[in-house]
């Protein structure tokens, strides 16, 4: 069986939180090895899109395939085991676990994950603070930890939500380097970002999300000519 180039395909996705209807027919494709960014204002439905992939929203309809497999009716932990790494917007560091326990928590979901040594080489701060309580780490360290946590599992598709939010420029630069490095290694990445400057150079393609739908798709080479449009839509 040949592997589909569409690693993640979302078609006609509607998602709800209780009674409120958040996604209104999302259509998104992320190809193997690509880095795709979802741009848009707060509340446009970008975070909800990532959460809907993992079944963390309420009711959802439509279709989501991961590596060719339909996951719309699947239990959350089974979807993850298809090879997904999730870095939530609120970082999701556990206060009842130490830094290293946080790092070792997610079970393996694929082969070829980084070893603990490789991760500590990439994030030396985490090695220093391995025995500290997870939530005692600084904001930057917690973000590094949230990233590192999904790299260990062998996940091939990374869903990264606002990873640059609230971080010092030095750390944001460091994160950008890490994303580039991951792209070279062949990871498939779906990035939700508010920080256009951070996301623009990393992404092969971008989707502009508005009112729970895709309003536009922009390729890397179209960035210059569509700058005016983006400024208007995003207010950047």
């Amino acid at each position: 069986m040949s592997m589909p180039t569409e690693y993640l395909k979302i078609s006609g996705l509607h998602a709800f939180y209780g009674e409120s209807h958040v996604l209104h027919g999302m259509n998104i494709v992320v190809n193997r090895g690509e880095c795709v960014t979802l741009l848009g204002r707060n509340g446009a439905g970008r975070t909800t899109t990532l959460r809907a992939v993992l079944g963390l929203t309420g009711r959802r309809t439509g279709s989501i395939t991961v590596n060719g497999e339909e996951v719309i009716g699947m239990a959350t932990h089974k979807i993850t085991r298809l090879g997904i790494g999730y870095c939530p917007e609120e970082r999701g560091i556990y206060s009842s676990l130490s830094c290293e326990e946080n790092l070792l928590l997610p079970p393996q979901v694929g082969s070829g994950g980084m070893s603990l040594d490789e991760i500590y080489t990439m994030f030396p701060n985490l090695a220093e603070r391995r025995h500290s309580q997870g939530t005692r780490l600084s904001g930057g360290e917690q973000q590094m930890l949230a990233m590192a946590r999904v790299l260990r599992t062998g996940a091939q598709l990374l869903l990264l939500d606002e990873i640059s939010e609230g971080l010092a420029p030095v750390i944001v630069q460091r994160l950008a380097q890490i994303i580039l490095h991951l792209k070279e290694k062949g990871f498939t990445i779906l990035l939700v970002e508010q920080n256009f400057r951070f996301a623009a150079p990393l992404a092969d393609r971008m989707y502009v999300v508005e009112h729970g739908q895709v309003a536009a798709e922009i390729h890397q080479h179209e960035l210059e000519e569509k700058r005016g449009f983006l400024q208007e839509v995003l207010g950047v």
């Binding site: 959350t76 932990h77 999701g92 206060s95 009842s96 326990e101 070792l104 928590l105 079970p107 946590r149």
Partner: protein, 295 residues
Amino acid sequence: MTEIFGIPIQALMGQLVLGLVNGSFYAMLSLGLAVIFGMLNIINFAHGAMYMAGAFFAWMGLTYWGIGYWWALILVPLAVGVVGIVIERTMLRWLYQLDHLYGLLLTFGLALMIEGVFRYYYGASGLPYSIPEELTGAINLGFMFLPKYRAWVVVVSLVVCLATWFVIEKTKLGAYLRAATENPRLTQAFGVNVPLMVMLTYGFGVALAGLGGVLAAPAYAVSPLMGSNLIIVVFAVVVIGGMGSIMGSILTGLSLGVVEGLTKVFYAEASNTVVFVVMVIVLMIRPAGLFGKEK
């Protein structure tokens, strides 16, 4: 004879040991309640009924099938755990998204039903269960005679409680448990089968109560009321220790047993209420309990 504050040391030590035995049951039961509350968000009022069922299963095993005490120690907790898993799968799992009150009412109703069934068949007067031969008699410690069975209860309960603490705080499985208690959705999003863990946690929690029941059978009479008599005190212990703290439940359970025992020596009239007096005082000073974290 030696005396302390006008009390013979023999009587004092006797009550101290009895207090420790009671405290062992408080510790085991409140530990199970704390683990269940953390993971399922359910105040398990059926816990006393599970403890009582444990004692009855031991008695039934011996009376009907000739299964002795030692086998009962292993088989009964398993059986009670299975009953718990059936309850979790068929009833409790629909309540996790709702207010605590629903879980409390459902488990309270279950407790009444289970108690009612045993009362209907076995009456309320209590059935005898003899101490296994190996554990009869007492050890002479010089200053007192220590009944072997009481020592056994305290030791078993301590070992079980500390092993549970160790697994939860120091192992990988425990890390999953702590993570799932703190943020179940995210933990499941990392690929951990949280619904399965929830089910097994309830099974384990009530199995602890069942084990308590087996240990209690030779110490007290096996009676349908033994659970509801105990559970109110155990809830007070949980409130004093702080909901959701493992070590807190163990230490609070044991020490309140001792406090109760000592009250019996010094002012016997207050021995049934002293735990609740302590509860009131703790709630006034630390509303989240001695080991609980304020939210």
